[in-house]
């Protein structure tokens, strides 16, 4: 397992607490989502991010509001870290029209253009070329923003990864590829999907700078992400950041987890990024036990509010079914 390396980052107390709050919010929000799933309030596929929170939180904190974010179907964490309203997400998963995508998308398709959050994409690796195109637009428009694209290690086996890396490098566009290597693509362990498992090595084939980081440690991710984002912003060139992490839960709610050992999961749980960060904050005296309690309560009440909002949400009338197929708001 990757080691935590020492680092030097200046995190002020306020930001630290906020990041802790975010990780906890993601964790508890997803626990709640799983619970609502068993109550059949949420349906379809539900992919939990539990165990991987440090990646989304650590990377997204490095971005500005103008930067674009694209994710996979496993994106509740990213949406929350990006500042999307928990109620809008929960309502989306309930399928209510108050949801961030009007209920049309569900768990796999969270979108919020107002915060430059571009999904929620459920075709594995299908969003990588789009990310390159968004970065190309930024370059042409001289906007100075960057595009950050999250995807799994499984996605890196798709041809779209190869094409996107090559195009981004050729065109020199500001895109940060964040590979969330949680060691499994559904039930397929990385050794069955990649002939070379150190995915950061793939960068060299395209002349794309790359590095790997322990994705279970928030401070490590922050350090790596800050550096990577800075490079992308300064050079206007792509960067591949591989975050080695692990998902504690099943791939989706349909997964019997036949493909991995319970012991392996237990081992990884010992490296849970949330208690680890909490310990760190306590040790550094950035936070007190009491403040932690307060944050926990705040998270609980935010989640309760989200559920209430979703429950109170309304179903889109069936006669609106064909809206949003074309922009004129009607199926032609």
């Amino acid at each position: 397992m990757p080691k935590t390396k020492s680092k030097k980052i200046d995190l002020d107390a306020k930001k630290s607490r906020h990041l802790f709050y975010q990780m906890l919010l993601i964790r508890k929000f997803e626990d709640k989502a799983a619970e609502e799933y068993t109550k059949a309030k949420i349906r379809g596929f539900l992919h939990l991010y539990i165990g991987e929170e440090a990646v989304a939180v650590g990377v997204i904190q490095a971005l500005t509001d103008d930067d674009n974010v694209l994710c996979t179907y496993r994106e509740h964490g990213h949406a929350l870290a990006r500042g999307m309203d928990a109620g809008a997400i929960m309502a989306e998963m309930y399928g209510k029209q108050e949801g961030c995508s009007r209920g049309r998308g569900g768990s796999m398709h969270l979108f919020d253009k107002s915060i430059n959050f571009f999904g929620g994409n459920a075709i594995v690796a299908g969003h990588l070329p789009m990310a390159v195109g968004m970065a190309l637009a930024s370059k042409k428009q001289k906007k100075g923003n960057i595009t950050c694209c999250f995807f799994g290690e499984g996605a890196a086996a798709e041809g779209e990864f190869h094409e996107a890396m090559n195009l981004a490098a050729l065109w020199k566009v500001p895109v940060l590829f964040v590979c969330e290597n949680n060691l499994y693509a559904m039930g397929t362990a990385i050794r069955y999907s990649h002939s070379v498992q150190e995915l950061e090595k793939k960068g060299a084939a395209y002349g794309v700078e790359s590095s790997a980081v322990n994705g279970m440690n928030l401070m490590d991710v922050i350090e790596a992400a800050n550096e990577a984002v800075q490079k992308v912003r300064d050079n206007g060139k792509p960067y591949l950041l591989v975050c080695n992490t692990y998902r504690f839960r099943a791939h989706s709610m349909f997964d019997a987890e036949l493909y991995r050992d319970k012991k392996e999961v237990e081992e990884w749980k010992k490296r849970d990024p949330i208690p680890e960060f909490q310990e760190f904050l306590l040790k550094q005296k950035i936070i007190t036990e009491k403040e932690i309690k307060k944050i926990e309560n705040q998270v609980d009440s935010e989640i309760q509010k989200a559920v209430d909002f979703a429950e109170a949400g309304t179903w889109e009338p069936i006669d609106q079914l064909t809206e949003f197929v074309y922009s004129e708001n009607e199926t032609k």
């Binding site: 398709h109 039930g187 397929t188 997964d255 197929v325």
Partner: protein, 328 residues
């Protein structure tokens, strides 16, 4: 003496797969998560343990790559069963399917056979939203060189694979996720399944309901309801979407003089369009009423249950449509 057993649609597939793997060493199954995960929909659960890694191959996410590899293996004397997890991801393999599998026999002047069987899960009904609910039967059915099968019944789930594996040409088998847990009775000695003919599932004299896939049981149930109201509907399961067996449905229309076509796929340029236009061309003077289609609404499938259900024909829609054709 023929007995029947109760079996789920999923289990029927699994038995077909197991039998195929037992019968012929050249046959192997490859696809994403078919092995260690047990199959995305648990169809191949246990087969890895039974047949080993050489016969049940988990592959990386690379639809174009592994479908192409299946085609290559078929060219070189194997009989691969390639599973594309769902039809939604099948677009990534479409070049291989169309430009290689369907075309090599012709381009080579008859030299190269591509005996690959591609199994694909398809359709709506799990609240999986726009990128995971496609019904792509019409697209495959457009392509000369492919044999396209749609598995609308448990008999076909049990037996189509066997016959498909005898074909020297590429066969696409379209399976429906939403039916996996459905239990039905099938005969234990039903014999080899034909993959060239449509099937009259219920005979009737008042109207021909022509359908396939998820439409089959829906239409059968609708026919039962209609029977209670004195309407005797014939139900036809197309089964083979390419090459279409038009004889069966034209004969039916010649008998009933009315037709309704039912499918989940989007309406425009669909299987229904093709059936309707063939009836137009070849049975026009048999018709007592214009042929109607009930198809999927032309919208990327939305997530919420009520909108999802409103996107495809339901039993009540079928009953209503039949009545409207019979009593305009």
């Amino acid at each position: 003496m023929s007995q029947t057993i109760k079996i789920t649609y999923r289990e029927a597939f699994k038995q077909g797969l197991r039998e195929a793997l037992q019968n012929d060493d050249r046959i192997f199954l490859m696809g994403e998560d078919v092995g260690r995960y047990g199959g995305a929909f648990a169809v191949s659960k246990g087969l890895l343990q039974e047949f080993g890694e050489e016969r049940i191959m988990d592959v990386p996410l690379s639809e174009s790559g592994f479908v192409g590899a299946g085609i290559g293996a078929a060219l070189a004397g194997m009989k691969p069963i390639v599973e594309v997890m769902t039809v939604n991801f099948g677009l990534l393999a479409m070049d291989q399917i169309v430009n290689n599998a369907a075309t090599l026999l012709h381009m080579s002047g008859g030299q190269l056979n591509v005996p690959v069987v591609i199994r694909i899960s398809c359709g709506i009904g799990q609240q999986l939203a726009a990128q995971h609910s496609h019904s792509w039967e019409p697209f495959f059915a457009q392509v000369p060189g492919l044999v396209v099968l749609s598995v609308g019944t448990h008999e076909d789930a049990r037996g189509m694979l066997h016959t498909a594996l005898q074909s020297p040409d590429p066969v696409i088998i379209i399976e429906y996720t939403s039916m996996l847990n459905l239990e039905k009775e099938i005969s234990t000695d039903m014999g080899a399944v034909n993959i060239t003919k449509a099937k009259v599932i219920k005979s009737g004299k008042d109207i021909s309901i022509i359908t396939y896939g998820t439409g089959v049981y829906k239409c059968l149930e609708s026919a039962d309801e209609l029977a209670a109201e004195g309407i005797d509907a014939e139900v036809i399961d197309l089964r083979v979407l390419r090459p279409l067996d038009e004889e069966t449905f034209l004969a039916s229309v010649a008998k009933t003089h009315r037709a309704l076509i039912v499918e989940d796929a989007w309406r425009s340029v669909s299987i229904s369009s093709e059936i309707s236009s063939r009836i137009m061309e070849k049975a026009f003077y048999e018709l007592d009423a214009s042929v109607k289609r009930l198809c999927g609404v032309e919208v990327p499938i939305p997530y919420p249950l009520h909108l999802e259900q409103a996107s495809v024909p339901q039993k009540s829609d079928i009953v209503k449509a039949v009545k409207r054709i019979i009593n305009p």
